[in-house]
């Protein structure tokens, strides 16, 4: 029996993604029409009641984020949609844009209305350049219908959406690097504070949200029967998009209610492992996520249960690796990725990645010593504590969790 649900994915395949008329025929923009008769505080409260956590990976309370953004006093504010989905094995935002682009646009307009922004920016990764025409066309049609531009729905609200492209840099998924990139510069993260909620894009208060978070807004606002609150568990309300990949038979994006087990997802939805092999490891939340053994299969997929099991929801990626790949080879590939993507600006990340790479090579060759393992732990800790941005802070998550969960793979030979 399939455990997947259709709450935020209810529009998938139900309308012609190139036509705003077709979107409106299934109730599109009703949420915006409802929103403009509410105050920004009321909208933020509605999201807070639904206990939505931001879906980019950090899991910050979305209602709180919007009410904070609303309360910042400034003449000009901006909303940014982070569509720089760079975590390996994460492709849920791609699916959301492909199958329901107008819903994202609607969510962004509501975000703009809520926080009193005049402009919204979608930062789309270059790797998704094939989605540009679709988004540009959706923005154009929304403008023609008066959902963007001056005096939207007669409420004196002026708002426009602009599409910007990334250029193949994972670090630009980090908020401050992202705004640097939109400003036409190389995407190196800024020092914090000031935080971008006070001083971000063009030095304006900036409210950054992930594609999935914004795509959820319309459904929540129209959910009068509070169906959303019936999904999930007490600590993790609602549903979540997961992207399952790796050595599974049926990789893809699924909307699950929080609380189904990892086994339900891997074996139920993703069809189990190719050739029915054994699972070596499962990584949660992309390359910056932690890894677990197959003993995690019976853990419910919720924020709290995964945290207790030593991993996390992160971006919603679930990467299943079968027994043919060794833990050390896996870690070396992940390390390769971070060594390539580190922007090189801060020392802990630039040097840390380089040294871990060399040490992992020794482990792979079996020539490592106890001191090497101690060095790895120490460097990983320093990186997590003192890197400038999230990239360096999380680059060694997989390694640290592996040293705990797969101790035998690090044994001195």
């Amino acid at each position: 029996m399939s455990k997947a649900v259709c709450f935020m994915t209810k529009n998938f395949g139900k309308y012609d993604v190139k036509s705003i008329g077709s979107y409106m025929a299934i109730g599109g923009f009703n949420a915006l029409k409802k929103a403009v008769n509410m105050t920004g505080e009321e909208i933020a409260d509605t999201l807070a009641t639904a206990k939505i956590k931001g879906r980019g990976g950090a899991g910050y309370d979305m209602g709180r984020k919007w009410s904070q953004a609303k309360s910042v006093i400034a003449d000009n504010k901006v909303v940014v949609c982070n569509a720089d989905e760079g975590e390996p094995c994460t492709f849920k935002d791609r699916t959301l844009i492909e199958k329901d682009p107008f819903n994202l646009i609607e969510g962004m307009i509501i975000a703009g209305y809520t926080v009193d922004a005049q402009n919204g920016y979608i930062y789309l990764r270059e790797e998704y350049s094939h989605l540009r025409p679709l988004i540009l066309d959706a923005i154009k049609q929304a403008k023609t219908y008066g959902f963007l531009g001056e005096n939207i729905l007669g409420k004196g609200f002026n708002y426009n959406i602009h599409l910007y492209s990334g250029a193949g840099a994972y670090v630009c998924g980090e908020g401050t690097a992202l705004v640097e990139s939109i400003e036409g510069k190389s995407g190196r993260p800024r020092m914090k504070p000031p935080f971008i909620k006070q001083c971000g894009l063009y030095n304006l208060p900036t409210c950054v949200n992930n594609v999935e978070s914004l795509s959820l807004v319309s459904s929540i606002l129209l959910d009068d029967e509070k169906k959303y609150l019936n999904y999930g568990t007490e600590g993790s309300v609602g549903t979540k998009l997961v992207s399952v990949g790796g050595n599974v038979k049926n990789p893809g994006v699924f909307e699950i209610p929080f609380g189904v087990t990892v086994r339900d997802i891997v074996y139920g939805l993703a069809g189990g492992i190719v050739d029915d092999r054994e699972i070596k490891l499962i990584q949660f939340g992309g390359a910056s996520g932690k890894i677990a053994t197959k003993s995690i299969l019976d853990t419910p997929y919720t924020y709290e249960d995964l945290r207790k099991a030593g991993v996390g929801v992160g971006s919603g990626a679930i990467l299943v690796v079968d027994e043919r790949t060794s833990v050390i080879d896996f870690l070396r590939t992940t390390q390769e990725f971070f060594s390539h993507e580190s922007c090189g600006q801060c020392t802990p990340c630039r040097e840390g990645n380089r040294h871990i790479k060399l040490l992992l090579k020794k482990v792979a060759e079996g020539t490592h010593t106890t001191d090497d393992l101690a060095s790895m732990r120490k460097i990983a800790k320093i990186m997590a504590m003192s890197s400038l941005c999230g990239l360096g802070e999380t680059a060694q998550s997989a390694l640290v969790s592996a040293m705990k969960n797969f101790e035998e793979d690090f044994q001195i030979k």
């Binding site: 036409g184 995407g187 990467l319």
Partner: protein, 165 residues
């Protein structure tokens, strides 16, 4: 087409195309990243030649160092000529555990080039890139923005190459 020669790249025709791209971006220097990507697309070898970088600095009133900061920072922007069809093979973990090594080997064999080399006719380059989000169809390659997935056999890989004329 010769590579590495001093042939003039910035022809009148290309300058005109670049001006159109700049116009579409409202001649706004803060849209530099998007501008560079668009220009790279219209240049047959998909790169930003030096002359073009200086032309942009002049037109947009942006420092040439800022332009090169972007070109060298972003993986998707190149200052070296590439082929008409740069084949970007995903080298991230999902494609790796779905045997992108045999995909690499087959491509090298069929094209008779190594990584980062150009075929004799200037049609193909072989590049190794980070995850482009096609994990559901791994192993995958991306050529001028189009994704080709499930490249598990030599036949499928050859079919993909034959499509690129």
């Amino acid at each position: 087409m010769a590579f590495g020669t001093n042939d003039k790249v910035l022809t009148k025709e290309l300058a005109k195309q670049i001006d159109l791209i700049l116009f579409a971006h409202e001649n706004d220097g803060s849209k530099l990243v998007g501008i560079l990507l668009d220009i790279q697309e219209v240049i047959p070898n998909h790169y930003i030649p030096t002359e073009v970088a200086y032309y942009l600095a002049d037109k947009l009133d942006v420092k040439v160092t800022t332009i090169y900061d972007c070109i060298t920072f972003y993986s998707s922007i190149s200052d070296k000529p590439r082929a008409k069809y740069p084949i970007q093979v995903c080298n991230s973990i999902v494609c790796k555990i779905n045997h992108n090594d045999s995909l690499f080997e087959t491509l090298k064999e069929l094209l008779n080039i190594d990584l980062n080399e150009i075929t004799y006719d200037g049609r193909f380059t072989l590049e190794s890139v980070a995850c482009f989000g096609a994990c559901d169809v791994a192993p995958a390659v991306r050529v001028n923005g189009k994704v080709y997935g499930h490249l598990t056999t030599k036949e499928k890989i050859a079919d993909m190459l034959n499509e690129l004329i």
